[in-house]
C-alpha cells in the first residue's frame, strides 16, 4: 500500500486567504446554517413533546398553521425562513432567536486520526465497527484504495476535508 499522502486544499482555504468564496462552499454553509436552525428548533419541540407539554396540534393552534404544515416543517428544514424559525420557537418554547456567530478560522483542529482498521486488508473484508469510529466520513473507491475525510472544525461543528492515503 502506498504510504504517500496528498492533502486537498482546506474547506476554508479561500475564506482564510480572502479569495472569492466558491459557490459550492457558500451553498454548503447555507445548508449547514439552515440545518442547524432546524435541529435547534426540532430539539426544542422534542423536549416539550416528551414532557407532555406540547403537541403538534397545539403548536399549530398557537401559530396559526394547519397541523399537517407543522408536521412538514418539523420533518425537514425545506424552505424554512427566519420567519418560520421565529414562529416555531415562539410557539414551542416562548423564546426568540438571537444573533450569534462563531469564527470559522483558527479553530482547534479535530482529531479524526484513523484507527487500525483503516488498512485495506481489513477494510476489504470487514467494514468498520462502532468501536473503531474515531473518524467521521470516509470514501472508498475499492478495497485497495482508501480516501478518508478528516475534520478541522470544532467538536460541535465539523468541517470536512479530504485526505488521501
Amino acid at each position: 500500500m502506498s504510504t504517500s499522502q496528498t492533502k486537498t486544499p482546506s474547506m476554508l482555504y479561500e475564506i482564510a486567504a480572502g479569495l472569492p468564496i466558491p459557490l459550492e462552499k457558500r451553498a454548503y454553509f447555507h445548508a449547514r446554517v439552515l440545518n442547524s436552525y432546524y435541529q435547534y428548533v426540532l430539539q426544542k419541540f422534542i423536549e416539550e413533546e416528551q414532557a407532555n407539554r406540547l403537541t403538534k396540534a397545539e403548536l399549530a393552534r398557537r401559530i396559526g398553521r394547519k397541523p399537517e404544515v407543522i408536521s412538514r416543517l418539523l420533518g425537514a428544514p425545506g424552505n424554512w425562513t427566519l420567519e418560520t424559525a421565529t414562529d416555531l420557537l415562539l410557539g414551542i418554547s416562548a423564546e426568540e432567536l438571537t444573533p450569534a456567530s462563531v469564527p470559522l478560522l483558527n479553530r482547534a483542529p479535530r482529531n479524526y486520526k484513523h484507527s487500525d482498521w483503516m488498512s485495506f486488508t481489513q477494510l476489504s473484508t470487514n467494514p468498520p465497527t462502532r468501536s473503531d469510529i474515531n473518524w467521521k466520513v470516509s470514501i472508498t473507491k475499492n478495497p485497495l484504495e482508501l480516501r478518508k475525510f478528516s475534520g478541522t472544525g470544532t467538536a460541535d461543528s465539523p468541517i470536512i476535508e479530504v485526505t488521501m492515503r
Partner: protein, 155 residues
C-alpha cells in the same frame, strides 16, 4: 459514513455549471448531518414520510436506505446500506423525480420504477465488490440500524 467514489465525485466536482456546483454544496451539508449527531427523522415504511431524512427502500428485506437531500430542487437521493449501526455506506446517487441537465443519470421516479430497482441492484453489486461476504444490515428493526448513541426519531 463511508461514501463511494461516485458520490465523492458529485461532492468534489468538477461540475459542469453553477447549478451542479450549488447542489453539491448543499448535499455535502445534508450528508454531514448524519455524522454531526443531528436528530434524524427516519422512516421504515418505503417511500412514506416524505419529510424524513432517511428512509428504508423497498424491498425492506434488502436493507437499502436512501438519504434525502431535497433542497434546492432537484432533490437528490444517496442510496446505500448500513455496515453497522450508525455506519452508513453511501454507494450511489440519483435525482429523485425530474431530469437534471447537469447529469446523465435518469430520475429515480415513482416507487415502482425500473430506476429504483436498478440503483438498489447496483448498490448491492458495489457492496459485494467492496465487502465481499460481509453482509449489510437488513430487516425492519430500526435499532439494528441506529444505536442509542445517536438521536433519531421514527416518522
Amino acid at each position: 459514513m463511508l461514501l463511494s467514489e461516485e458520490v465523492k465525485a458529485l461532492l468534489d466536482g468538477p461540475w459542469d455549471n453553477n447549478d451542479a456546483r450549488y447542489r453539491a454544496g448543499r448535499l455535502r451539508a445534508d450528508l454531514e448531518d448524519f455524522i454531526k449527531g443531528a436528530n434524524l427523522a427516519v422512516c421504515l415504511i418505503p417511500f412514506a414520510a416524505k419529510t424524513a431524512y432517511m428512509g428504508i427502500l423497498s424491498p425492506v428485506t434488502a436493507g437499502a436506505w436512501d438519504i434525502r437531500s431535497r433542497d434546492p430542487s432537484p432533490a437528490l437521493r444517496v442510496v446505500g446500506f448500513f455496515a453497522e449501526p450508525d455506519v452508513f455506506v453511501g454507494l450511489r446517487w440519483g435525482p429523485r423525480s425530474q431530469r437534471v441537465p447537469w447529469t446523465t443519470k435518469p430520475p429515480l421516479g415513482p416507487r415502482d420504477s425500473r430506476e429504483w430497482r436498478d440503483i438498489i441492484v447496483q448498490c448491492q453489486t458495489d457492496w459485494r465488490n467492496l465487502f465481499h461476504t460481509y453482509s449489510p444490515i437488513t430487516g425492519d428493526n430500526v435499532n439494528e440500524y441506529f444505536s442509542d448513541q445517536n438521536p433519531f426519531h421514527v416518522v
